[in-house]
């Protein structure tokens, strides 16, 4: 068994904000008397991550994934609970800890806007006290892997979004971090750039054995990269396990795709399950997993069937169902 590199126990984070009423009258009232609102962004989450794992953190906006990541990187101090990353308490912000991890945020820049990325890298070299030869070697390795050589001499603000994310990744990896936290690194990128970043992360994890924690809205990122996924919703972890086992765990239903040789009555078909999609000569039905065989036999018997197939629900659908609490056992 690999070494546990991240241990999280009952970690919670609350934010206090103020309720703001609508209109000028309410604004004047709020100016003198404010009503506090407590938001529990993360509620007693616990999990462990082993060395070399590539773990996905999946959740809708406001689910608590970025807040969790910020606590694990020491940016935020939790309201309660404990966490250890590489043997350190993150929010104590020890230098020895900070030298061993890296954080990349898809929506925030850490490179100087007006200067080429190479200038920022030089700063990172001093920050992390990377010997010059080692720095050159790392830079060469990462530049090759990401195929972005010439752009590093262009002002950051003049780079495309895809190039900028590649440049951000290089900056984050120069000191060879043992743990890499990625917060939506593919957000806003076109399909080609998303694919390039994914390929890079996959290769990097394989070659360096670095532990990677990735948050993303995109199922594709999680499917392609993370053997393990943590699904978080409203501050609570709903699932922590194999990405490939999501179906068995959550999908109570399977989908039956059926094509008819002539048009049939929709009401007759509805008796067999929930209609997810209705076409002129076909339908997609959602039926309980245990009743698939029986329903399939009845469909074939009662309707003029041209073609029929049974599918597991797509991961996108399952996750969407989890977040909307539809057809899933949570």
């Amino acid at each position: 068994m690999n070494k546990k590199i991240i241990q999280v126990r009952e970690l919670s984070k609350n934010f206090v904000s103020f309720k703001k009423g609508e209109g000028l009258k309410a604004s004047i009232k709020d100016f003198f008397q404010r009503e506090k609102v407590l938001k529990e962004a993360v509620k007693k989450v616990s999990f462990d991550i082993e060395e070399g794992e590539f773990v996905g953190f999946l959740g809708p906006n406001g689910a608590g994934k970025t807040t969790t990541l910020k606590m694990l990187t020491g940016i935020l101090t939790p309201t309660s609970g404990e966490a250890e990353v590489l043997g350190f308490t993150p929010w104590k912000r020890k230098l020895a800890f900070k030298k061993q991890f890296s954080l990349v945020m898809g929506q925030k820049n850490q490179l100087w806007w007006d200067l080429p990325p190479l200038d920022s890298y030089e700063l990172f070299r001093h920050m992390y006290e990377i010997p010059y030869d080692e720095y050159k070697k790392s830079l060469h390795f990462l530049t090759d892997l990401l195929d972005i050589g010439a752009s590093l001499e262009t002002q950051t603000r003049k780079l495309s979004l895809g190039e900028r994310m590649k440049a951000e990744l290089i900056g984050a990896l120069l000191h060879k971090p043992k743990v890499l936290f990625l917060d939506e690194p593919t957000i806003g990128l076109d399909v080609v750039s998303q694919k390039a970043i994914r390929e890079f992360l996959k290769d990097y994890n394989r070659e360096t054995k670095a532990t990677i924690i990735l948050t993303s809205h995109y199922m594709e990122d999680i499917k392609r990269l993370c053997p393990r996924v943590l699904i978080i919703h409203e501050g609570i972890i709903l699932y922590d396990g194999d990405t490939s086992m999501l179906n068995k765990k959550f999908a109570q239903n399977k989908a039956i795709d059926v094509n008819f040789s002539r048009s049939v009555n929709k009401k007759d078909v509805q008796k067999f399950g929930e209609i997810e999609e209705w076409r002129e000569l076909g339908a997609r039905l959602s039926v309980p997993r245990a009743e698939v065989t029986q329903i399939l036999a009845r469909l074939i018997k009662e309707f003029p069937i041209d073609d029929v197939s049974v599918h597991e629900k797509s991961m996108e659908d399952i996750v969407s169902d989890i977040f909307t609490k539809k057809n899933v056992s949570i």
Binding site: F15, F18, T66, K70, T73, G74, I75, L76, T77, W91, R93, L95, A96, K98, K99, F101, S102, L103, M105, K108, Q110, W112, D114, L115, D119, E122, L123, H126, M127, Y128, E129
Partner: protein, 262 residues
């Protein structure tokens, strides 16, 4: 300060020189603006001293020397940390200090010395011109040794002011928003624009002993002019270090309350 902090600071210096060279028009505008302000103040004192013989015991020549020390203290702040403090509030509200907290280097170097304004280097040149003008105009003799001690004390004045700014900046961790904090910080320095002797009654206690901004320029200038008050001198050094320590402490405590932004 660790070795890597020094290297990072030197790198920030180099990078900011590059930035200054990219925006060269900005450099000439800064030169013009500073020369204009300094010129206006010199004219103001020239006119003022047509009507009075001294200002709270300071002659015209001494006031011009005072003014050159004032601009020297200001120039250090202008070059090194003024801009960074002015944008700190916005940076914090937008979650811009997230990355700073994850880097293995002094947070203050990254936050308050990242916008070094080399275009303000000209302030030192203009200050030197003013100093020469004051000495030539009034015939005041300045001892080189005392002048050097005055310069060292002016550096302490900056340490005091930096500590005070850190204290004020720390308030941002406790309130939602403080618009205008940047300009407020800088207006504070205006208290040091006149000799400490002009403040009397509660003003004397407030600006010499509680928020000792009246000492920032007065003490270094008095020493350079040979008017040495040993007790005040030691008090000035001690309170500068105290404010620096208090600023650091409040900033560290404030950082624990940092709530970032999405």
């Amino acid at each position: 300060m660790r070795r890597s902090d020094v290297k990072v600071f030197i790198h920030l210096l180099k990078v900011n020189i590059k930035k200054t060279l990219i925006y060269r028009t900005n450099f000439w505008i800064s030169l013009f603006a500073m020369a204009l302000w300094m010129g206006i103040y010199v004219i103001f004192f020239e006119i003022l001293f047509m009507h009075i013989d001294d200002l709270a015991g300071w002659s015209k020549g001494e006031m011009l020397i005072f003014l050159s020390f004032y601009y020297f203290v200001q120039a250090m702040g202008n070059v090194l940390y003024r801009e960074s403090f002015e944008i700190f509030g916005d940076k914090m509200r937008q979650g811009g200090i997230d990355f700073v907290l994850t880097k293995p280097v002094s947070k203050q170097i990254l936050l308050f010395f990242d916008e070094i304004r080399f275009d303000h280097i000209v302030d030192f040149f203009l200050t030197a011109l003013l100093f020469v003008y004051a000495v030539l105009q009034t015939g005041i003799v300045i001892q080189p040794g005392l002048f050097l001690i005055g310069i060292v004390l002016a550096i302490f004045g900056n340490i005091l002011f930096y500590g005070l700014l850190l204290l004020i900046a720390s308030l941002l961790f406790y309130v939602d928003r403080m618009d205008g904090i940047g300009s407020f910080m800088w207006h504070l320095s205006q208290i040091s624009r006149f000799p400490r002797q002009i403040y009397s009654g509660w003003g004397k206690w407030l600006f010499q002993f509680i928020f000792p901004l009246a000492l920032l320029v007065s003490l270094p200038t008095e020493v350079a002019l040979g008017h040495i008050d040993i007790k005040m001198l030691f008090y000035f050094i001690a309170i500068s270090l105290l404010f620096f320590a208090l600023g650091n402490l409040s900033f560290s405590l404030g950082l624990r309350r940092y709530s970032s932004a999405n």
